[in-house]
């Protein structure tokens, strides 16, 4: 038997479904590699880059994010590993 609040959960899920990719939704043109707060959101606590499935990014923005994170890492703004 399914849980009682099943329908409730589904409608809640649907409400936030509109756009998966934050960057497309916001209509930004690029991802700034100096924007550490945003980039950290696209990484795990260990500093690994989240996959598209996990971060929800479109292919285009996932590529931009990867590039930005790598630049931030080189400049010591973000960790390569650990934290």
């Amino acid at each position: 038997m399914p849980p009682k609040d099943r329908n409730n959960k589904k409608s809640k899920f649907k409400r936030f479904r509109e756009r998966r990719c934050r960057f497309t939704r916001l209509g930004v043109e690029f991802i700034d590699w100096k924007d550490v707060n945003t980039l950290q959101r696209l990484c795990t606590g260990q500093g690994k880059i989240l996959g598209r499935k996990r971060s929800g990014s479109d292919a285009h923005f996932q590529r931009l994010a990867r590039q930005a994170i790598k630049r931030a890492r080189f400049m010591g703004l973000m960790p390569y590993v650990g934290s």
């Binding site: 099943r6 936030f16 916001l26 100096k34 499935k53 080189f74 010591g76 390569y80």
Partner: protein, 145 residues
């Protein structure tokens, strides 16, 4: 001449002793290689994510300028010789500098709005939305069946 953005990671000890001298030296280095400076600012002082050349903290200087592309290899070589500059990052900009600064401002504005919206949603009990294989795998699968 192409528009570039450069960030320099500078030794905080040297910069701390003589901020203006250090900055004007780097500015001089840029001008020596034919750069037309648009702006040059102290971006931030931060704790580094990992040690770079034995330093745990660093000062970031940010500059945007026009420079002939052919001068870049020599300029970067000079940066590497300079002991104050721990690291540098040169990025060729797609737009001219004023347009880039405008776009950049718009970008941060949007990101700020988004962050505020997210904070609002969290208070509503927003669970992150969407599907997450790693998170959902071990959790209850109440919306399937």
């Amino acid at each position: 001449m192409y528009p570039y953005e450069a960030m320099f990671l500078v030794d905080p000890v040297v910069h701390g002793n003589d901020p203006d001298g250090t900055e004007s030296k780097i500015r001089g280095l840029l001008e020596k290689h034919g750069a037309q400076l648009h702006d040059f600012e102290r971006w931030d002082e931060r704790k580094l994510a990992y040690e770079i050349k034995g330093h745990k903290r660093g000062i970031y200087l940010l500059s945007r300028f026009l420079i002939p592309g052919g001068n870049l290899p020599e300029f970067e070589a000079d940066c590497r010789i300079n002991e104050t500059i721990l690291r540098q990052m040169l990025i060729r900009l797609d737009d001219d500098i004023p347009t880039f600064i405008e776009k950049s401002a718009a970008y941060y504005e949007k990101m700020k709005e988004d962050a505020e919206a997210r904070r609002g949603r969290r208070e509503d009990g927003f669970d992150g939305g969407g599907r997450d294989r790693d998170r959902d795998r071990d959790g209850p699968r109440s919306d399937e069946g």
